[in-house]
């Protein structure tokens, strides 16, 4: 399909703002004026509407396709949340308003949304305080690590290392590294963190460890209490990557379990859409001793029930975002939490875990399931058996696309060969899962009889397999380059 630039017809008008009275020359000297126009497209409004409508049809989304993408929690996003985020009372609010004299009074509704969301997240996770500033999960990780660093610096601790399990999301080591830490990897044993391996790398120089629980294999970290004690013994902090929070709401609170810092992906657990890669939102919660280091601003409620933004926290790490994070995303999450309430959130986790285990059971005779025991909200399988006959995890993923499903996560975590990670979520029906499994079994049967057919999938989509090597080598990343 041609690009919007190729469709451009010079002189054609889309939305045509009224012409100003003055030419540029009357307002700016020539040496400060742009020479050549930017060459943006010239199109009618209908041209634009049709172009993007056509593009949308070349996409899989949760609204149109089952999306069992492990670790991504691609659940259904309630529609009313979108409406709410568009309410003019919120969408027209300038973020500098609260910084004006008595500006808090002009934004009481928004501040209450923020305050209440923080209270909910504290109760769900068992932490003392939350900040909504981080704009994505990885941004939350960075914020959390910077907060940990501020704690150690304040105590005079000399700490230079952060530990990450080998099953960690790639963002964990990356976040620790850009915050200035040396990253130490610790190997898993039977799919979970091995206390003996941890003991071998745990020294006074360790500032903290980053974990998720259940981990990326969908397994509960059974040695957690022991790990907490080990870290405490060297005044190291324990960070919780909330990517997998959807599995444990009401069943375990990470604060109660001994984690000191947590980030939550509102765009996963709290059903705010992923938008093709963002925007997300990654609020961070901390235990009592880390509260002084949270980023500013902080929202507080006074005894009369009024809300205020406060900036006077001398030990704060400062700004991690220009304002209060991705407020519009927070608002959707708040609406979702209000709608579901206590029982609803518990049922989310129960049904997410039930669905994952159900699918695991339906598949464990055709795919190798390396940790074939009760899993949490996702599980990994291996196409190692199939790969010996020439059909790899990638091929199976592509064949699923042909059947109208988004593929599971593949080749992650790195510690499982030919890995496929499935996460059906609580919003998919038994019928959808049954149908999916039937189709997947067909693909696996075909892998035996006609591997070439699977290897050449997909054949029903707008494009067949794409040459990623050529894309990296030729680097054609704009229309002009």
């Amino acid at each position: 399909m041609s690009t919007v630039f190729e469709k451009s017809v010079p002189g054609r008008e889309g939305v045509w703002p009224d012409a100003p009275e003055h030419d540029m020359g009357e307002m700016l000297p020539a040496d400060l004026t742009r020479e050549a126009p930017a060459a943006l497209p010239s199109l009618s409004e209908l041209d634009v509407v049709r172009h993007f409508s056509m593009l949308s049809r070349k996409n899989y989304g949760v609204d149109s396709n089952f999306y069992p993408l492990g670790s991504c929690t691609m659940k259904y996003n309630p529609k009313f949340c979108e409406d709410i985020a568009g309410l003019p009372g919120f969408s027209r609010l300038h973020p500098l308003l609260p910084q004006l004299p008595r500006g808090d009074e002009l934004t009481q509704g928004a501040l209450e949304v923020m305050y209440e969301t923080e209270r909910w997240l504290c109760e769900i996770t068992g932490m003392s305080e939350f900040t909504l500033h981080p704009m994505a999960g990885a941004h939350g990780e960075l914020t959390g690590v910077l907060t940990m660093a501020a704690y150690h610096a304040d105590k005079g601790n000399k700490k230079t290392k952060i530990i990450c399990p080998d099953s960690a999301h790639g963002t964990n080591p990356a976040s620790a590294a850009i915050a200035g830490y040396e990253v130490v990897s610790v190997a898993s044993k039977d799919g979970i963190v091995d206390p003996d391996a941890l003991a071998a790398v745990l020294t006074d120089e360790v500032a903290g460890m980053m974990m998720t629980c259940p981990n990326t294999l969908g397994l509960f970290e059974k040695n957690l209490p022991k790990i907490v004690d080990m870290l405490r013994s060297v005044d190291a902090l324990l960070y919780y990557d909330g990517a997998n929070l959807n599995a444990i709401m009401g069943k375990m609170r990470v604060g109660d379990a001994g984690f000191d810092v947590v980030h939550v992906n509102l765009h996963k657990t709290f059903a705010t859409p992923h938008g093709g890669g963002g925007p997300g939102s990654g609020p961070v919660g901390v235990c009592e001793k880390l509260v002084p280091y949270l980023p500013i601003s902080r929202v507080v409620k006074d005894p009369s029930g009024r809300f205020h933004l406060r900036y006077d926290y001398p030990k704060s790490i400062g700004y991690v975002a220009p304002f209060y994070g991705n407020f519009g995303v927070v608002l959707k999450a708040y609406a979702y939490m209000l709608r579901l309430g206590r029982e609803g959130l518990i049922r989310v986790s129960e049904n997410a875990v039930l669905a994952a285990n159900y699918m695991r059971k339906l598949l464990d005779d055709v795919l190798e399931v390396p940790y074939d025991r009760i899993c949490m909200h996702e599980f990994v399988a291996s196409a190692d058996k199939q790969s010996h006959k020439g059909v790899r995890a990638l091929d199976i993923a592509k064949a699923l696309l042909d059947k109208g499903y988004h593929a599971p996560t593949i080749y992650f975590p790195l510690i499982v060969k030919e890995c496929l990670m499935f996460e059906p979520t609580e919003t998919e029906s038994k019928q959808t899962m049954d149908e999916f499994v039937k189709d997947l079994r067909e693909i696996l049967a075909q892998a035996e009889t006609d591997p070439a057919a699977v290897q050449t999938a997909p054949v029903t989509l707008p494009v067949t397999r794409l040459d990623e090597t050529a894309a990296a080598r030729n680097m054609h990343i704009t229309q002009d380059m």
């Binding site: 045509w16 409004e45 949308s56 509960f220 992923h274 938008g275 067949t464 680097m475 990343i477």
Partner: protein, 443 residues
């Protein structure tokens, strides 16, 4: 219950298939000692009641003020077609395009976005966006540090103070030296910046128009900084980039921007998007996702995420950045907005904003006791100095339903009497006339 589809029979069948007798048994691995000490949340609400509660909250925000607040975040008109197109579920309920064959819509849109913002800022290439203009600036600075292996960053005080605080937070534990060059009566002190650049300088950082609204030319600074091996970075305002001298023409190596003004609502601070563009020579230092054009097995054009060896899921702690998600849907809004306006529409918008600002500056500076803080050319924003504290004046004006601007003393000690006033195409001459009349009244 809402959003869980299972009937009682379904649930029973699934539990049976798993081989457990109850939901609780699924969580048997979590020991009792790790169970929640409390889970004290209110009961759920119907959709209708939830909506009513949040509508009530929205009414407790004051959006009826006539506001001249800018400071890098601008209230521009957004055509209805933007919201209509962005609401298509195939766009907003999709994930990161890890399976390119099923994500050509998102991928082609990002490719087009990369093209549009590169052309607008007059640079070679772009990524698929980062969180916001501030993180874009931080990532630009880190690109320069990696590229040059130097430790000093020379930044003008006329760069957004909000962003400068953010840079300080991010770099606290790193071996970097941030040198802030003070402004000279609201203007960027190019001479002092040039002097501050030495053999240890990784980059020079300016903003255009500056935080005070001044349109400036960094070309000479950039030429001399480059001669000393430093990377040249501009933080730009994309609407005005359509009419003022571009980062590319000034010789910038990296140009970043807050993309909010291209079709995104103010939304109390987010979501916005960080636009990041650079020269071809620096592309492998650029963080975040990048979409590339390629061909499929039948030779047809298609798009994929490319240069992934820079990213955290491959390189882990050695990645160019920890950034994983971007602001894809915001980038799409921005692209659709630019396509609807086109070049001419965007230029018209920019000129109208500037025209309104000129008109406002003329009116306000004729008030007795009011002077312009800066003297050079301005874009759609300008700073004035009042005879008394801007905070007090601002408070009084809010009482009349007008936000006259942003009191600069909040971030610039010594400028307590100064106010940053912004105009967009949404301000009428009448709004500006009333602002001037009431301000005169208050002073």
């Amino acid at each position: 219950m809402p959003y869980v589809p299972h009937t009682t029979a379904d649930t029973r069948a699934m539990l049976e298939a798993v081989g457990v007798s109850s939901m609780e048994e699924l969580f048997a691995e979590i020991p009792q000692t790790l169970r929640p000490k409390s889970f004290d949340l209110p009961p759920g609400m119907s959709e209708m009641d939830t909506r009513a509660k949040i509508e009530d909250l929205s009414s407790r925000n004051n959006t009826s003020l006539v506001s001249f607040l800018g400071g890098g975040f601008y209230d521009h008109y957004v055509p209805s077609a933007v919201d209509a197109l962005i609401s298509r579920g195939e766009f907003y309920t999709a994930y990161t395009p890890y399976q390119p064959e099923a994500s050509q819509g998102t991928l082609q849109a990002i490719f087009e976005y990369q093209t549009a913002v590169s052309r607008l800022l007059d640079m070679d290439c772009s990524n698929a966006s980062v969180y916001d203009g501030g993180t874009a600036l931080y990532e630009a600075m880190m690109m320069a540090v990696r590229q040059t292996r130097r430790v000093k960053v020379v930044i003008s005080e006329t760069v957004s103070p909000i962003y400068r605080i953010l840079l300080g937070t991010y770099t606290k534990n790193l071996n970097l030296e941030l040198v802030t060059v003070p402004h000279a009566s609201g203007a960027t002190d190019f001479a002092a910046m040039e002097k501050a650049v030495d053999a240890s300088t990784a980059c020079v950082v300016v903003q255009n128009p500056s935080f005070f609204g001044c349109v400036e030319d960094a070309s000479a600074l950039f030429a001399s900084a480059k001669a000393k091996g430093a990377v040249c970075i501009v933080s730009a305002y994309p609407v005005l980039a359509s009419v003022i001298k571009t980062p590319g023409k000034m010789g910038a190596d990296i140009a970043v921007a807050e993309g909010q003004s291209l079709g995104l609502p103010l939304s109390f601070g987010g979501p916005y998007l960080g636009i990041m563009t650079c020269t071809k020579a620096m592309v492998r230092q650029m963080p975040g996702r990048i979409v590339g054009r390629t061909t499929d097995s039948q030779g047809r054009t298609g798009y994929v995420l490319t240069l992934q060896a820079r990213e955290q899921h491959i390189r882990r702690q050695k990645a160019t950045s920890n950034i994983c998600s971007n602001q894809a849907l915001c980038a799409l809004r921005c692209l659709i907005h630019m396509c609807l306006l086109g070049d001419e529409g965007l230029r018209r918008t920019a000129r109208t904003c500037m025209e309104n600002a000129r008109y406002a500056a003329g009116k306000l500076s004729r008030i007795k006791g009011v002077t312009m803080l800066t003297h050079g050319p301005v874009g759609n924003e300008f700073a004035i100095t009042l005879p008394r504290p801007a905070q007090d004046v601002c408070l009084a004006m809010i009482g009349r339903g007008f936000v006259p601007g942003f009191p600069l003393g909040r971030y610039y000690p010594g400028l307590e009497n100064s106010l940053l006033v912004c105009c967009t195409e949404k301000h009428s001459r009448r709004d500006i006339d009333i602002l001037a009349a009431w301000l005169e009244d208050e002073l």
